[in-house]
Symmetry: C2
Subunit: 364 residues, 2 copies
């Protein structure tokens, strides 16, 4: 293999793959990047048997070939280089990275035992990348990070006619987002690891993204790139609608104003980090008290309809919920007792997002 490529382009591709496919410490081969040089350019791929990703970049290919090299050293070297062009050439048992005045050489790993690029599941439909990224960045907030209960670490992605619906929960909070969807195959219903979706939300382009799915795998594709993952096992989240039986208080207010108050009053919360939300006339009051930290009270202007049902919440859940509605008016639908409060946008926006927070017992 021997090729010349724009440094920044290959550096971007290698860094993206390192973030999408973390690899397995136990097997260096599964932490490798597979470089394939063909007349079309260079394809870079990673596959740790659970997750797989591939990207293509244009390159001037002097000699075709295929090599497997350690991913992180390649990505780090390319990113640190200041030269605009870089040459990658196999020299004996090494892949040399050459730029004027400099040579770096990475050991070649055994490409024959690597699982390869992998095949893509069938196309199920397509979405707008920017909107999908926005929806993903919202729902990953409510997913659990506790690997002991894998099914709560996923986001359920399901097609419902011309909408794609995303749901996640860690049992204390739940996020729902939906967005327009152009179906082009079988319906989608998959539980996808939230950690991968969080990274994809950062990497997705704003243009069209194809959704790939079969029984075992889920994937996203866009210009020259394809990322797939094994799906999680779990069918706990069959609801994509929230049934509110007993809303007696509806509060609408500026999400950022409330988020600011939560941040400040949260400094005074007790060991459980619980804030009390009291409903007043044309305002809500946040309160917190802790024997050591002191006490705090802050009012936020609001439109209040219905009753006067206050609740107590963990400040972290309020912060996450409000982040989904930054810069907008948010509606809080409050049910009495230990029943959920639903946050939604007053204005209709796409993706449509609802965030559900379970109340806590108020501080004594």
């Amino acid at each position: 293999m021997d090729l010349t490529v724009t440094t920044a382009e290959l550096a971007g591709a290698a860094s993206a793959l390192v973030k999408l496919v973390p690899g397995r410490l136990i097997d260096p081969v599964l932490s490798g990047l597979l470089l394939t040089a063909s007349p079309d350019g260079v394809a870079v791929a990673a596959n740790d048997r659970e997750r797989a990703a591939q990207v293509s970049r244009s390159a001037v290919v002097h000699t075709e070939g295929r090599v497997l090299v350690p991913a992180r050293p390649l990505a780090d070297t390319l990113r640190a280089l200041e030269q605009e062009q870089v040459r990658l050439v196999v020299e004996g048992s090494k892949l040399a990275i050459r730029a004027p005045g400099a040579r770096y050489a990475l050991p070649l790993l055994d490409a024959d035992v690597h699982p390869g690029v992998g095949t893509a599941p069938a196309v199920a439909g397509s979405v707008a990348g920017a909107m999908f990224a926005s929806a993903l960045s919202t729902v990953v907030l409510a997913a659990s990070r506790d690997d002991a209960l894998p099914m709560f670490t996923g986001v359920r992605i399901r097609s419902e006619g011309d909408r794609l619906v995303l749901v996640s929960t860690d049992r204390y909070q739940m996020a729902l987002a939906s967005l327009p969807w152009s179906p082009a195959g079988s319906p989608v219903d998959a539980l996808v690891p939230a950690s991968l979706l969080g990274e994809l939300a950062r990497q997705l382009p704003s243009g069209p993204v194809t959704v790939h799915a079969d029984r075992d795998r889920f994937g996203l594709g866009w210009a020259g790139a394809l990322v797939t993952t094994a799906v999680l096992d779990g069918s706990f989240l069959h609801e994509s609608k929230i049934h509110l039986s007993d809303v007696d208080t509806v509060v609408t207010l500026d999400a950022d104003a409330l988020a600011g108050a939560v941040r400040r009053v949260g400094l005074y919360a007790d060991a459980r980090r619980v804030l009390l939300v009291e409903i007043g006339d044309g305002e809500i009051r946040l309160r917190a008290a802790d024997q050591q930290a002191g006490e705090a009270e802050e009012s936020v202007k609001s439109t209040v309809e219905g009753g006067r049902t206050g609740q107590a919440y963990q400040s972290r859940f309020l912060t996450d919920a409000l982040r989904c509605f930054a810069g907008r008016e948010v509606r809080m639908e409050i049910q009495p007792g230990m029943r959920a409060t639903v946050f939604s946008s007053v204005e209709e926006v796409e993706p449509s997002v609802r965030y559900v927070v379970m109340p806590m017992l108020p501080p004594r």
Copy 2:
């Protein structure tokens, strides 16, 4: 106590004190901020018996008084507030922080057992703040962070006629800086904790700074602010000159070009993080090799005088040394054998800085 003050000003003062005087977990009183309201405004002070700091801010004082409150909650609350003005008023056993629509209350601590503001050691002279900050940020790099050997965690600050000389070492590297000094009292010779000096380098104003010193304490003062600390015990660093007995190779080159090469080639260094520097004709070559990571070689254009003595160095020490000369030409004076290499600026600049790095045995 009852006063109204500009939020950002008091927030800045409280945050600065929290960083300068970390306090003692074991005694909440020593982690407190002492607020004193007088017709002149408000003075904020911290004193954990080892370090002490005080700043003054203008304020509209409605009622004079003095209170002690937990430092970090006060600083965090002030920093999070969006209102331009804030009122601090004692209400019972609390200090209330009031802004429109909001009230936060901190418990009062027992001010009578607090060591108070403390007295300043006598003035010994003065320096230009910006230049002193630059010199401090350089010498703290070479100080040790290992509290097991306290004398290496300090910077020796000594007056020599009309120069103030700063020296630090962790035994593997050494930094020397000197700058113009206007003496105004007894000579200074103190070993001052590097961690405090690092924070002071960030906080010092560009204008004049007075240096205070006596046998037990060292301090810096500037407009309305005074920071003092107990000095460390240790008189190991009596040399402020470096005697180079056997320099046989002098290399001059662009510090940033070398720093970039160290960063890239360092990715390929072995477990000891050692880089080999070889002297060529009109260039130096950096080399590193590791069985797992691969190998790297990079040339940097240089002016070479004298012999061809190469050395091996820890990449971290090279990075620290070169940071002191960023944007400038640097001179490396290399001695053969296990003798020190001295880095200095080709152009004469203030503060004058020399950085000494001990070589390592070359990689086998």
